[in-house]
């Protein structure tokens, strides 16, 4: 893994020769992407309702409006590649193939949740599916991603890591330290900035110097790529370049994807930092599900009737996840003392029984 003559890829250009081309999806595979996007939308709407009914507590950050980003980017990965993100994690989890049931149950704090009710909205995990969180501290997941990629390279598995972060995270030190390490050690990691323009309630023009944000790749001699997050096809195409660069040349990239969230930062956001007109305008011009749906209609990959069926099934799945979460048992209080320490197997157990 020692460094050798670096292939320099500047952010001003796309990473030149991608050794493999983006596979063309069959019409039914394209419809599957739409299906996932619709499922995320309906899941989030049900979560919002449950939050308003006080069935979900704590913080709840919704992904509505950003669906094409998670679905498009994750669709370019192999199932053994790693995905890690920040606290707005429901969309990525569902795009990764986690079930609405395990996700909704986690929001309800139930033992059947993906983190046994210990993580909540911001801390979804499913190790089997290589979904490594769900991280609550802005930028805190970015060094972890470098480490997961480090281990992938160390073990020579050919896997890659995708790490999502928001536009607010680009000013955290940990993010810059991660970019430096990833570039210096040539780690197979793709950092994806989901630029939804607002770091909580602070517009990017009031939080970041230096545009576009992807320019931050330049300082580390990393590939910098931009994509339109409202267009699932564009996200796929641009991510594919980054994924190939990581997989075949073990080089990191920074991908800035322009997106927009239609809901507040979290459910408790009064939304007084932007106008309703701004949100309506954005929906009108670039709503990702409508955009892709219309494209599939034109391609004759989808009919109105089939779309209605997709909607019906998504709503049903979201409702089923609510029913599952509601009917799931609360964690036994005794589980509060579980999952703190991994069992020891190379040395004798040395901890006194917890609570003694």
């Amino acid at each position: 893994m020692a460094s050798s003559g670096a292939k320099k890829v500047r952010s001003k250009e796309k990473p030149g020769k991608s050794p493999a081309v983006l596979p063309t999806l069959t019409p039914s595979e394209r419809v599957d992407l739409l299906r996932k996007m619709v499922l995320i939308r309906r899941f989030e709407q049900k979560a919002a309702q449950a939050f308003m009914q006080a069935k979900i507590k704590g913080f709840c950050h919704l992904y509505i409006g950003q669906e094409a980003l998670a679905v498009g980017s994750i669709s370019t990965l192999n199932s053994s590649d790693a995905v890690i993100t920040a606290y707005r994690d429901h969309g990525h989890a569902l795009a990764r193939g986690m079930t609405p049931r395990e996700c909704m149950a986690e929001l309800f704090g139930k033992i059947t949740g993906c983190s046994r009710g210990k993580g909540g909205s911001m801390h979804f995990f499913n190790r089997e599916k290589h979904f490594h969180g769900g991280h609550g501290i802005v930028g805190g997941q970015t060094p972890l991603a470098a480490g997961i990629a480090f281990a992938q390279k160390y073990n020579g598995t050919g896997e890659v890591t995708v790490c999502y972060l928001g536009d607010g995270a680009v000013n955290q030190g940990a993010f810059h330290e991660s970019l430096n390490l990833a570039a210096l050690w040539k780690l197979p990691v793709i950092y994806v900035i989901e630029n939804n323009e607002y770091a909580m309630g602070t517009h990017q023009s009031r939080s970041s110097a230096g545009y576009p944000l992807v320019k931050r790749a330049d300082g580390y001699d990393m590939a910098g790529i931009t994509a339109n997050g409202n267009d699932v096809d564009d996200v796929r195409e641009k991510m594919w370049d980054a994924v190939q660069l990581a997989r075949t040349e073990s080089l990191p990239s920074l991908v800035e994807v322009k997106t927009y969230r239609y809901r507040g930062h979290s459910m408790s956001d009064p939304g007084n930092y932007r106008t309703k007109e701004e949100i309506a305008e954005r929906k009108k011009e670039s709503e990702p599900i409508s955009l892709f749906k219309e494209r599939l209609f034109k391609e004759k990959a989808l009919t109105e009737k089939q779309y209605e069926e997709i909607e019906r099934v998504a709503v049903e799945e979201a409702e089923d996840s609510i029913a599952f979460a509601e009917s799931s048992p609360e964690p036994e209080v005794a589980t509060v003392f579980e999952d703190i320490f991994a069992p020891e197997d190379q040395i004798a157990e040395f901890r006194p029984p917890i609570g003694s």
């Binding site: 805190g140 281990a151 999952d339 991994a342 069992p343």
Partner: protein, 324 residues
């Protein structure tokens, strides 16, 4: 038995564990080509190569977090902080990631990582470089905190720490790197969480860790000259605390002085004092005394710094107070 310095004993532990398990890697500032700022990693780059021993940029948050991510993915990183004083810029990674990911994920991950490096005051490096943060990290539920005082324990405990499937803060003390003592040959695996009586005594127990153990031992000699028999209990591990050993010694001597280099407010000694009064109130013949670093930022001047550090004289005075 070989006589080794603390740094040689630590080096042996690292070398033996890296030899044994190729998942063990070493990351840190100057650990490779420079051979370690305190020479603890001397020769490891030559022995194990650049794939196993990594010089990092001065980027503690980045490389500590990278270590945690690598541990989540099955490696067993040893992350060296040149000093634990620099771990503060990596605090989020240690506390929220190493310390919480297993729990937050409902037990899906093991985080077999060792954070280690030098610590401590007394060498005139001022407030930023003189911390003994064992009490800060002991406050994090999932972290194990080890603070060896002797070369044999340093070796045996570091080997155990590397083999633990859980995150360990292994806090060495800079003042002890050159301290020499006998170290058993070969594969010693000292049990984590067990205190060790370093000197038997009957009238007062001096409870200490790391460099403070040596302060306590010096005090015990002074007390002996005055006809007082002091027992010195070296905790070795701050978390988990060895309560049976602590309470056993209290039952024998009925008097306690706690000696710790960290600052007094919520220092580990406060926890030990609480446990003793709560569990062995009737055994105590005098209030528990604590000798800690004074509650001021660490000064540079030798005269001022020596006044701030726990000293044998202060310990002796405190011990006599329990016997008055």
């Amino acid at each position: 038995m070989a006589v080794l310095t603390m740094r040689e004993a630590l080096n042996q532990a690292l070398s033996e564990e890296m030899e044994r398990d190729e998942k063990v890697i070493l990351l840190g500032e100057e650990v490779a080509e420079y051979q370690g700022a305190y020479k603890v990693s001397s020769g490891l780059l030559q022995k194990f190569g650049a794939k196993r021993v990594w010089d990092t940029p001065i980027s503690e948050s980045g490389f500590a977090g990278l270590g945690v991510g690598a541990a989540m993915q099955g490696l067993r990183p040893v992350v060296e902080f040149m000093t634990w004083s620099f771990s503060m810029v990596a605090y989020d990674q240690i506390v929220n990631n190493a310390g919480a990911i297993r729990y937050m994920s409902g037990g899906q991950y093991s985080i077999p990582i060792v954070f280690r490096g030098s610590s401590g005051a007394g060498l005139q490096v001022g407030a930023t470089h003189s911390h003994t943060p064992e009490n800060w990290y002991a406050n994090v539920p999932a972290l194990t905190v080890i603070t060896p005082a002797f070369p044999d324990d340093a070796k045996g405990l570091l080997k155990s720490a590397i083999r633990s499937n859980n995150p360990v803060c292994f806090i060495e003390n800079e003042k002890l790197y050159g301290f020499k003592d006998e170290v058993p040959e070969g594969d010693i695996l000292t049990t984590i969480g067990k205190a060790r009586i370093r000197r038997e005594g009957s009238q007062v127990t001096l409870i200490a860790n790391s460099a403070s153990t040596h302060v306590a031992l010096a005090s015990a000699l002074q007390l002996e000259a005055d006809g007082i028999s002091a027992e010195v209990l070296d905790l070795r591990t701050i978390k988990p605390l060895d309560l049976p050993a602590i309470l056993g010694s209290v039952a024998k001597t009925n008097r306690v002085v706690i000696v710790e280099e960290n600052k007094p407010f919520a220092g580990w000694g406060a926890q030990v004092a609480y446990e003793i009064q709560n569990r062995s109130f009737d055994e105590l013949d005098a209030p528990i005394e604590r000798v800690t670093g004074l509650d001021v930022p660490q000064p540079y001047s030798r005269v001022l710094e020596q006044a701030v550090m726990p000293s044998a004289e202060r310990v002796t005075e405190a011990a006599k107070k329990t016997l008055a």
